[in-house]
Subunit: 198 residues, 2 copies
């Protein structure tokens, strides 16, 4: 088709999540058609990001600074810590502008299958904050999966010693969701989480 | 979320075909988690390809050499020229290993809508080959679209002067395709292209 360099580019693009061999070829072609205006800027953005990216030693977020922009932001409420599984979850909450506190990124969930135990979770900074005092609430925003629920249970036990309220995000019908397309688990959770309106 | 460098990386990834804002964020996160082992190799592959990619002056293919690997391959039958719209079409035919001749990449189709006229098509190398003589057949492998059909008709007229057989790829039911999911145009083409079996 088009030389080893092009084959190698396609192979590396195909390893990105969301791209398969076919879409990697399309992406490679789009880049190859505009090497100067599209491919080199992307390559340079990658090198720049690879050089500058840091894991925040305080919360586990990815940013070009350590501490990250959220931890360094004096307007954020450091007394409310939201625990999430991944940086992607943190970004999702930030896009929704629904949390004005800070975060703790666990970097995963407890999972016997993948061999992730308590020591593999990035929990030490949160425990240190709790030791220091001044934390008003810990919000567990973990996924509604078996592993997420198990991790939330384990965290509730682990954090009980600190005498700080620990909450979990609500479960139920997603916004815009019709009931007849929801799975049984979501319907059960929604019924259990029902509130009296009047 | 994560600094200007990361925002810029996501914005550039989101411009790739097949990636939207959401999948660009997922791809960026996957790269940011492994800056040394995933992001830098991809960035370097892009820079390398951007530097080395050439448009074949003979057929219009993209390769790291000019003439491209296909045009330079002495085992290919230079007397049979397959005319395609894009480099992607050429690659698709190469993957299928169904054409042992050479190619001519037009770089588009005649289209009043996008203002593509005969002068915008990369046809000169094919005409030069026909002038030289030695071409046994020109195969038009253009898309079964309005523009593809119009371009094929125009090419048939344009090439009539050279006294070389011009063929068009067959149209009909795609392999593995059930008739009841096909559109009316494909069914009509399939019926028109029917062959007597016995």
């Amino acid at each position: 088709m088009g030389g080893a360099d092009i084959e190698r580019l396609i192979a590396l693009l195909a390893r990105l999540p969301g791209l398969g061999p076919r879409s990697a070829r399309r992406a490679a072609l789009a880049l190859l058609r505009q090497p100067q205006t599209r491919m080199l800027p992307l390559a340079q953005a990658m090198e720049q990001a690879a050089r500058s990216v840091r894991t925040c030693s305080s919360c586990g977020n990815l940013d070009t600074h350590d501490p990250c922009g959220i931890c360094a932001d004096l307007a954020r409420d450091r007394a409310v810590v939201c625990v999430v599984e991944t940086v992607g979850d943190l970004w999702a909450l930030e896009r929704a502008c629904v949390h004005r506190g800070v975060y703790q990124v666990l970097g995963g969930t407890l999972s016997a299958l993948s061999g992730t135990g308590p020591d593999d979770l990035n929990l030490a900074p949160l425990l240190a904050r709790l030791e220091e005092g001044g934390v008003r609430e810990v919000i567990l925003a973990l996924g509604a999966t078996v592993e997420g629920a198990a991790t939330a249970h384990w965290l509730q036990d682990r954090l009980a010693a600190y005498d700080v309220p620990v909450s979990r995000v609500g479960q139920g019908v997603p916004m815009g969701g019709a009931l007849d397309v929801l799975d049984d688990g979501t319907l059960a959770a929604a019924l259990t989480a029902r509130k009296i309106c009047s």
